[in-house]
Amino acid sequence: MSSPSPHFVSFEHVQKSYDGETLVVEDFDLAIERGEFLTLLGPSGSGKTTCLLMLAGFETPSAGQIRLDGKVLDNIPPHQRDIGLVFQNYALFPHMTVAENLAFPLKVRKLDKATIAQKVGDALAMVRLQGFEHRRPGQLSGGQQQRVAVARALIFDPKILLMDEPLSALDKNLRDQMQIEIRELHRTLGITVVYVTHDQSEAMTMSSRIVVFDEGTVQQVAVPSELYEKPQNAFVAQFVGENNCLQGTVERTQGKTCSVRLTSGENIEAENVDNNAKGKHVLVSLRPERVRLAANSADLKHCQNKVQGKLQEKIFLGDHMRARFFACDKEGFVVNLPNKEGIEHVKVAKEGQDMAIGWRTEDCRALGLPKPA
């Protein structure tokens, strides 16, 4: 017998196929530590919900194993797993009041009345909904419903809390507020949370670690800042944050950097992230805020890479300025400049004007492409 995994939750070579033909989840390996706030981030249909459902026990993996707290979950039915679940549509029982909803998990655990009343009161206080106990879910706002759903999923002290896009039905302001509340709850209770979203800013705000998913495979697991600064592959670079993506072929490699000939003809220096060999097709990703602008290229100091671009459009956004260029044979080469001293020349620039664009080697990353596009 293999030794129990030291991790709190571990997915080991998990696969899932619904129809026996296509793998919705392919060879999923993931370890989750106690107390973590882990987010599964990925486009629609990438298998995030499926993973969550497998952990909760509503879908069985076609292959592989899931362990929780050292125990293999295979043969534990979902109602005995002690996993709290929060759904996108809240799934509050419409025919029960808020208090009855909260008491439901305690009643099925056959707790005595006094304890139930006590815990329900505490839970309501936790989500600041005292006085709402006799309302029905239909009489609550979306945010209130979501708070009840969270309280209900936590009231029986589950080992882990799973949340599947819990905020996607709320409007922007409420979402921001709920993000803070959920993070607060996580911090005060110290519970392990697995969170699913396809909103990257939400993932960035809340998580201690993010798992980027695409087509059933893990693309990168990292803390938010690393995910943004150091995307491991082309998908992550494009999916997380805004990016200028330039295609080219590796000409030469030297240590950690390489020089890439872009399809538009320019030669640039970039970090060689996945050890691409000479001749390999790569995608060079460059964050818009790392790009500098000048009237002519001599003014671009510290920039190893310099290209010429024609200003297409500039938008003033208050705290920053956004400019779109035609550069490197590409429409919409985006540059973001913070609104501070030193960008006057951009503010006065006219549309159609030629400008010098530059950036440093360490700010652009050459990521291997599976096939020449």
Binding site: A56, G57, F58, P77, P78, H79, Q80, R81, D82, I83, G84, L85, F87, Q88, N89, A91, L92, F93, P94, H95, F104, P105, V108, R109, R152, A153, F156
Partner: protein, 427 residues
């Protein structure tokens, strides 16, 4: 200038915008009304008027006044509560009226009508009508008394009860059809209304049976339809739709065909009995009676009304997100208990809609009980039909119909009170 200036919005050509909008709206309303006019006319002619006519017939009683106008007048003075017979003029008027009625062949009809209220009157009127002309001639030639001659002709004319019936039904508006429909009767002398002895109660028993069998059918459709709807609602929508079409398939065959095919299946020499005998489960003498009784009605009607239960159940179940069940299970409830505590309560609007639909449809059902109900499986509607087409007691038929209508409305009201009618969801 006044301090509160009210702005009036104007259109480009200077008319008040409000008035123009109002006009426009009115025109739209007129158009909408025109579109529904044919249907409205149809509903009024085909639904409202018949119901009003039924209400009228159930209380209307012109036949005595029309057939025996002079007698009705003459009886005005007579005290029906006493023990004395009416006076000579009343007898004379009756004789005169009956001669004319016989001439127009209405005496027998009147007798039949009055026979519902007091048995024996049919034959009395038939006989009297036939012979009245001779009797009148006899009285005229002998200068005798109508009273004596008539009583001599038939002793029933000497009974106060016969006259009481005439006097009672001189009124053109009577509730007696309703008393009859509810198995009550009004004492001829005291006018007191009382329930008939239990052995004579036909209609109450029939109403009771109709309700009980309908409840049985509703329960049967629920028991059969619930799991079916549950299954279909959980299938992927392509397969689900196919199955729904199959549920609706019975609607595409004639009701008669479906009912008679049940006869073929269930009768004593029918397919099922033959099979059971052939297999040896039943002996030749022990063939089951599954049709021409309550069983037959319940089986055939359950089959026919099943879609009315399945469809609302299905459409409600389809909207119940699977996440409710998942939530309940993840909260620690066993799947079975999650089903009862969480899923089932959410289906109640569908159950309500289906149940009330099946119940109300079956309570007024006619064809199937008529064909397969035998003696014990017929409904109140079959009795109504009997009074309309065989006994020709339309007034009673109408009263029974109104009673049924009232009962259905009461059920509806009750349902609204208890469950709430807006809880019904059909889709």
């Amino acid at each position: 200038m006044s301090s509160t200036t009210t702005f009036q919005l104007l259109t480009a050509d200077g008319r008040a915008l409000k008035a123009v909008l109002k006009k426009h709206k009115a025109r739209r309303k007129r158009k909408a009304f025109l579109l529904v006019t044919p249907l409205l006319a149809f509903v009024i002619v085909g639904f409202c008027l018949p119901i009003l006519d039924m209400l009228r017939r159930s209380t209307n009683n012109h036949i005595v006044e029309k057939t025996l106008p002079r007698t009705v007048l003459a009886l005005k003075e007579w005290d029906a509560g006493g023990t004395t017979l009416p006076n000579e003029p009343a007898f004379a008027s009756l004789a005169q009226d009956l001669v004319i009625a016989q001439h127009h062949r209405r005496a027998t009809q009147l007798g039949q009508r009055l026979n519902y209220e007091f048995s024996g009157l049919a034959s009395l009127f038939r006989r009297s009508g036939r012979h009245m002309e001779e009797l009148v001639n006899e009285v005229r030639s002998t200068r005798g008394s109508y009273k004596e001659t008539l009583i001599a002709f038939d002793a029933r004319w000497g009974e106060t009860d016969s006259w009481r019936v005439l006097k009672r039904f001189s009124d053109t508006l009577v509730a007696d059809y309703y008393w009859a429909a509810l198995d009550m009767r009004r004492d001829l002398r005291s006018n007191e209304v009382s329930l008939r002895p239990s052995k004579e109660r036909i209609y109450l028993r029939l109403f009771g049976r109709t309700v009980v069998i309908s409840l049985g059918i509703t329960l049967a459709t629920l028991l059969l339809g619930f799991p079916l709807a549950l299954w279909i609602a959980r299938l992927p929508s392509g397969q689900g739709n196919l199955l729904l079409v199959m549920v609706l398939l019975p609607f595409w065959t004639s009701l008669l065909v479906r009912t008679t095919s049940w006869i073929v299946l269930l009768q004593q020499q029918g397919v099922i009995n033959d099979l059971l005998v052939a297999v040896g489960i039943l002996s030749e003498e022990g063939r089951l009676r599954m049709i021409y009784n309550t069983t037959g009605t319940v089986i055939a009607m359950t089959h026919i009304l099943l879609p009315f239960m399945v469809l609302p159940l299905y459409s409600v179940m389809k909207t119940i997100s699977p996440s409710y069940m998942r939530a309940a299970v993840s909260l620690g409830a066993h799947p079975i208990s999650a089903f009862w505590k969480v899923y089932f309560p959410s289906t109640v609007p569908g159950i309500g809609a289906g149940a009330i639909m099946v119940f109300i449809l079956s309570i007024g059902y006619y064809i199937t009980p008529e064909l397969v109900g035998g003696r014990t499986g017929v409904f109140i509607s079959n009795r109504i039909a009997y009074h309309i087409s065989s006994s020709l007691n339309w007034g009673l038929a109408a009263a029974l119909g109104v009673a049924l209508l009232g009962f259905v409305i009461a059920i509806y009201w009750l349902y609204d009170k208890i469950v709430g009618i807006d809880n019904i969801r059909l889709g």
